[in-house]
Subunit: 376 residues, 2 copies
């Protein structure tokens, strides 16, 4: 565990960046998409299958894990990697976002957030200090600072007050994290859609000093156009020699647009959740497998995809098992979606290396519009 | 597809038999346990994982498949093997049992059974001729004759009337099946718990001539003791040079007892269904993973099991994902149960070859009683 946590920037193409994060548990190729493993499982997938899609890193949710099965329990079982049988890197969020969206009777103070569990009603506290402790117990490789995800829309005064609280919490997170070789702590930029506040947030985070920086407070209802407006300036405010993580994004075109604007890491439940509800992401756009027109279609979901669902099963089969409520429908559709997302990331990484990212982006959009298969 | 369907009896030990059924799609080692793939999927398993447990053959349900997605549709997709991505042998039942237990407004006549689908209310007919046609469309390797599974209990007159109907249907099934090299047709012995009727049924089936013979009408509520009483004489009435299949059995001790009495093939939903409800079969007996006492248990389900669930996951993890309602709980628990069942079959085959089946049986029961792990 002595190898340092290190970000290597390998190529740039416009604002788009290709790189690698070296960790004691392996290399994370960037731009990276992180599948979400909320409750110590990427839903409907075995971890070796997640790895087979090309994922270098998973995201775990601190809020869910602290409530069930509990961080101390996971620590007793040897940490989250061992518990869930995933030996590659894991990033954990701070719990800040989900405690505000899922918990009951939550009360936010300068100290942190008191709340009741949505699982069993038990009382808990999340603060910069307790979040760092929980993420340490989980054994997370990339720990996120505890922050408040500023709700959208927020007026400038509300956004500022929220951002300043998050910056004070960022400093407390940094202090509580301490020195943990081989583990990284990321700060989170806030400031809503206000450029001056984004700049101030970035400055204060850089002053504290983090191993990586997230752009927070986006993908919360502002829409793609406004999100891209913020991404036109916000990532560039963060250090070029550290990874930049856009939290909770997104649809394939969100991801391509974010990479075009200098983002290195993303996570989203969309590929897994959509898989379970019968939506497949393909090079020709979204396929809703429950539609009757797939009932006799011998073709795979995506002719150009090498995932097990596309290699061995027809749309007719996937339609049948989805309609019949069979678990294998969730398994195969999720596998395909995660594979598609990783193909998309691999395609972007290759395009950046060749200095052809704009061409890739154009082909991506044209393929989805015209029904052709672009060279992902 | 020219290689003949052939049963090779390799060893016997008392009434227990070890053998192999050669088919164009591969060898079925007997005694064999067939996982059930009702709706063109073994629930919560990928077919390559089913194969990895050691299963040589699957069972498909004619009744379910004819209703959804439809036998003609499966035929258009290249048959059930291709549709569900399983290239080893498949046995299909005749639909006779399930039409009587699941269908609505069913009407049984000499011709067959008219009914309405439990899925969408549509009207259908199952008869010896239509069952043979559906199983042909599915591409089944081992086709079952259409019969009536005599309900239990039945008085002698009712049982006889039902058995005689099944024998007339057996003859019609044989005629409708015709000559299909590389595919086998099995007849089904009925006669309830009446020895004279079992003998008469066997004689009539042998006169018709089948590639294999099932003992039908058991595991329908009569209990293990009464089932074993019938198995003490019924299998021996069937030709020694053909495989003997006990339908719908059963719990591990049912299976061991059936093999001890000369049965070569079995199928049951128990390992898959129990997996989804949190029950694991192990060398020490049943483990109910939802019990709170497993929450902090770092041990695998079964120390002596080499399945992925036991190699890489603790009881604590399985307890957590089961409680959290995660799909991976069904995936891992099902995998373990199918692996356990196949280990059990492999253990019995080895014991029969060595002439040590009685010893195996004693160790099996002692292990479950004493909590020790017998040498499966």
């Amino acid at each position: 565990m002595a190898r340092p946590f290190r970000f290597q920037l390998e190529a740039t193409d416009g604002a788009a960046r290709r790189g690698a994060i070296e960790t004691p548990r392996g290399t994370i190729r960037t731009p990276a998409f992180m599948p979400v493993g909320t409750a110590a499982t990427v839903k409907a997938m075995l971890p070796e299958s997640v790895a087979a899609t090309g994922a270098d890193i998973l995201l775990g949710n601190t809020y869910h894990l602290m409530l069930r099965p509990g961080a101390e329990r996971i620590a007793r079982m040897g940490g989250l990697h061992s518990f869930m049988n995933w030996d590659r890197p894991i990033l954990t969020d701070s719990g800040g976002f989900q405690v505000m969206s899922l918990a009951e009777l939550r009360k936010l103070t300068e100290e942190g957030v008191r709340f009741r569990s949505h699982v069993d009603g038990s009382r808990h506290m999340l603060s910069p200090e307790s979040s760092m402790e929980i993420q340490r117990l989980l054994g997370s490789d990339i720990v996120m600072a505890f922050d408040e995800c500023t709700p959208y829309p927020a007026d400038a005064a509300t956004a500022r007050s929220s951002m300043e609280l998050s910056m004070r919490w960022a400093a407390r997170s940094r202090a509580a994290f301490g020195d943990r070789p081989g583990h990284a702590l990321f700060g989170i930029q806030q400031g809503s859609v206000f450029r001056d506040q984004r700049a101030e947030s970035a400055e204060r985070l850089i002053e504290i000093g983090f191993d990586g920086y997230a752009v927070g407070g986006l993908a919360v209802g502002e829409g793609q156009e406004r999100m891209f407006e913020v991404l036109d300036y916000a990532p560039a405010m963060l250090p070029a020699d550290r990874p930049r993580y856009l939290m909770g994004v997104g649809k394939p075109d969100d991801i391509v647009g974010a990479v075009a604007r200098g983002i290195d890491m993303m996570d989203c439940v969309l590929p897994t959740r959509s898989g379970r509800t019968g939506q497949a992401f393909t090079r020709r756009g979204v396929v809703n497998i429950k539609n009757a027109r797939h009932a006799d279609d011998p073709r795979p979901l995506d002719e150009a995809c090498a995932c097990p669902a596309c290699r061995a099963y027809s749309r007719a089969y996937l339609h049948h098992v989805f309609r019949a409520g069979e678990i294998i429908a969730s398994m195969l559709m999720t596998w395909h979606n995660l594979h598609y997302y990783q193909d998309l990331m691999a395609g972007m990484r290759a395009a950046i290396s060749k200095g052809r990212f704009a061409e890739f982006e154009a082909a991506f959009h044209a393929g989805r519009a015209e029904g052709d298969i672009p060279p992902l």
